[in-house]
């Protein structure tokens, strides 16, 4: 994977909010990032670290004030870039995406994106059906439901389907699982994982939840104060808990348990990420 061109390349990216006013805030100070095709990459960081600012550059919602953003070979800092083509290629799901819903019926709302790109009706219908199935909304049962009568979790899924219906190559989820109940969250996570594994979608996942990260992504970037301070595989990252604590972040609970066992002199692996792995380690310890 590493010898091919990255599908997303961010080079020395700077962004300043309220630029040229007395209230300006530097949100990004020289971020470098690379994402390869078919990868799932996580972005972690404290509130205000610049996570949302960074991902909003990836589909052209924000312009780079300095540096470059290259998506699939297209440099977004150049003038005259077909920005809608980029937005079709890079699907961004924001935090609380259900706020974007506006049509009366679920299927109509999901069809909004593909219709904006002028696709023929049969194609639109096909995509809506596919997207709804992908997020776990049964097409026949939900297509004519009144949008605002859906439950919170269903609305969230409908909104994500609205982005998926564009058939993006890269899906960015900016804290899109927050505010859901535990079952809704794990279900959504499972669906995203499925999209990643079966459809080969490149995923960029922003979340404050370390368990979700450990579950889903191949590589992690850690942002602090507008800069990338750490990057690596989840195992590499979570094996350095002191660094993460210093940044005001944490590690998955099971990893924390392993670190605590190690601190008490038990011979266990500390690069454990899931409950299943932890179970095996504890079993080894107890000879069960």
């Amino acid at each position: 994977m590493s010898n091919s061109q990255p599908i997303v390349k961010v080079e020395n990216l700077w962004h300043i909010y309220l630029r040229d006013t007395p209230l300006e805030v530097v949100a990004l100070r020289g971020v470098d990032m690379e994402v390869y095709k078919g990868e799932a990459v996580g972005i972690i960081g404290h509130t205000g670290a610049g996570k949302s600012t960074l991902v909003q550059h990836l589909n052209g919602l924000l312009r780079p004030h300095k540096g470059k953003v290259i998506i699939d070979g297209v440099d977004l800092s150049q003038e005259g870039v077909d920005i809608r083509a980029i937005r079709q290629k890079v699907g961004l799901v924001s935090q609380y995406p259900e706020r974007q819903l506006f049509k009366d019926y679920v299927a109509d709302d999901i069809a909004f994106g593909p219709q904006q790109f002028g696709l023929p009706p049969e194609e639109v219908r096909e995509r809506v059906k596919w997207a709804m199935e992908m997020v776990g909304l049964d097409f026949e049962r939900f297509k004519d439901r009144y949008t605002f009568s859906l439950s919170g979790g269903e609305m969230r899924r409908a909104a994500i389907a609205g982005v998926l219906a564009l058939r993006p190559k890269i899906l960015i989820l900016d804290e899109s699982t927050s505010g859901l109940d535990p079952r809704g969250r794990s279900d959504l996570l499972r669906r995203i994982k499925e999209l990643h594994e079966k459809e080969g979608l490149t995923i960029i996942f922003v979340s404050p939840n370390m368990e979700d990260m450990a579950e889903l992504v191949d590589r992690i970037y850690i942002l602090a104060d507008g800069q990338v301070v750490m990057s690596g595989t989840p195992r590499e990252i979570f094996s350095q808990p002191e660094e993460l604590y210093r940044l005001g972040l944490g590690i998955p609970q099971v990893t924390e348990v392993m670190h605590a066992l190690r601190a008490r002199g038990k011979n266990v692996r500390v690069d454990v990420l899931t409950v299943v792995e932890a179970e095996a380690e504890v079993c080894k310890l107890l000879n069960c």
Partner: protein, 282 residues
């Protein structure tokens, strides 16, 4: 590419933390002085008077230490309207405005009638616009909305005796002002979300009104839903805190006026009276 950062160009109403004398004045004194100076700006029509006013306003702006360029940035969105207005005044209002030195025709063709009066009207009203913008900026940049509305409530409280709803009015004003930046941010979020799914804003030609109106729906509907939801939350929060209106309520911050505040008000009254009664030669 569209720019979604609305707050960058909307400067009116924005509070800027700082520590010049404007921040230390009692908001009630500031409001009264503002009122008198605005009266002077509004009713002075001579050239000389307006030059003096502009100088005064610029001196005040300099004292405030707020960059003038930042204040004037608020004009940008209104500029086309100001220009259209100025042209209409120049062309059509020649007969209606009589300057102190008398009216003289400069150009006449059909219903277009340019006189010394209309020229003066255009210059004076443009100057007025700048004066007012700077004055409003000075007030809102240096006063938080809480201070402003409490100041207003305090100034209006004598009227409460005659059944004037001073407290309610101030509450309505606080709420409205407080929600402007919140709704602006929400608008930005919604526009970004819809743009992410391919929505197009501001295309389709200037004269295709129906198409343009349709493009606004994906923003307008979510924004309304959000505003209603926030209003309901606010009602709930107020009920939960046993809010029953202004009777018997005290404030966290009590205003205390010092000599400086009284002097500010007296100076502004004297200034306004001078500007309004003195006969300027031109």
């Amino acid at each position: 590419m569209e720019d979604f950062e609305f707050l960058r160009n909307i400067t009116i109403g924005q509070y800027l933390p700082g520590d010049s004398i404007f921040y230390k004045l009692d908001p009630r004194a500031k409001l009264l002085a503002f009122f008198f100076i605005v009266a002077a700006v509004t009713f002075t029509s001579s050239y000389l008077g307006n030059v003096i006013l502009l100088a005064t306003v610029l001196v005040l702006a300099a004292i405030s230490t707020i960059p003038l360029g930042y204040m004037l940035r608020g004009i940008k969105p209104a500029l086309p309207m100001i220009i259209v207005l100025a042209i209409m005044q120049l062309l059509f209002l020649g007969d209606f405005y009589v300057p102190p030195t008398g009216i003289r025709t400069l150009f006449k063709w059909g219903f277009i009638h340019i006189t010394t009066g209309s020229v003066q009207l255009v210059i004076v009203s443009t100057l007025r616009f700048f004066d007012l913008l700077i004055l409003v900026s000075l007030l809102t940049f240096t006063t938080t909305t809480t201070e402003l509305t409490h100041g207003l409530e305090s100034l209006m409280s004598p009227l409460a005796r005659f059944g004037f709803p001073a407290h309610e009015l101030s509450l309505v004003l606080t709420t409205a002002l407080r929600f402007v930046p919140i709704l602006a941010l929400e608008l930005e979020t919604i526009m970004k979300a819809q743009a992410s799914r391919g929505a197009n804003f501001g295309t389709g030609g200037r004269l295709r009104f129906i198409q343009q109106a349709r493009q606004v729906l994906p923003i307008l509907i979510p924004l309304f839903i959000d505003a209603l939801r926030r209003a309901e939350d606010l009602i709930l929060a107020m009920e939960a805190r046993c809010y029953v209106g202004g009777k018997g309520r005290t404030h966290l911050i009590q205003f205390r006026s010092s000599l400086r505040d009284y002097l500010t008000v007296v100076f502004s009254i004297v200034y306004a009276i001078f500007m309004l009664t003195y006969k300027f030669p031109f």
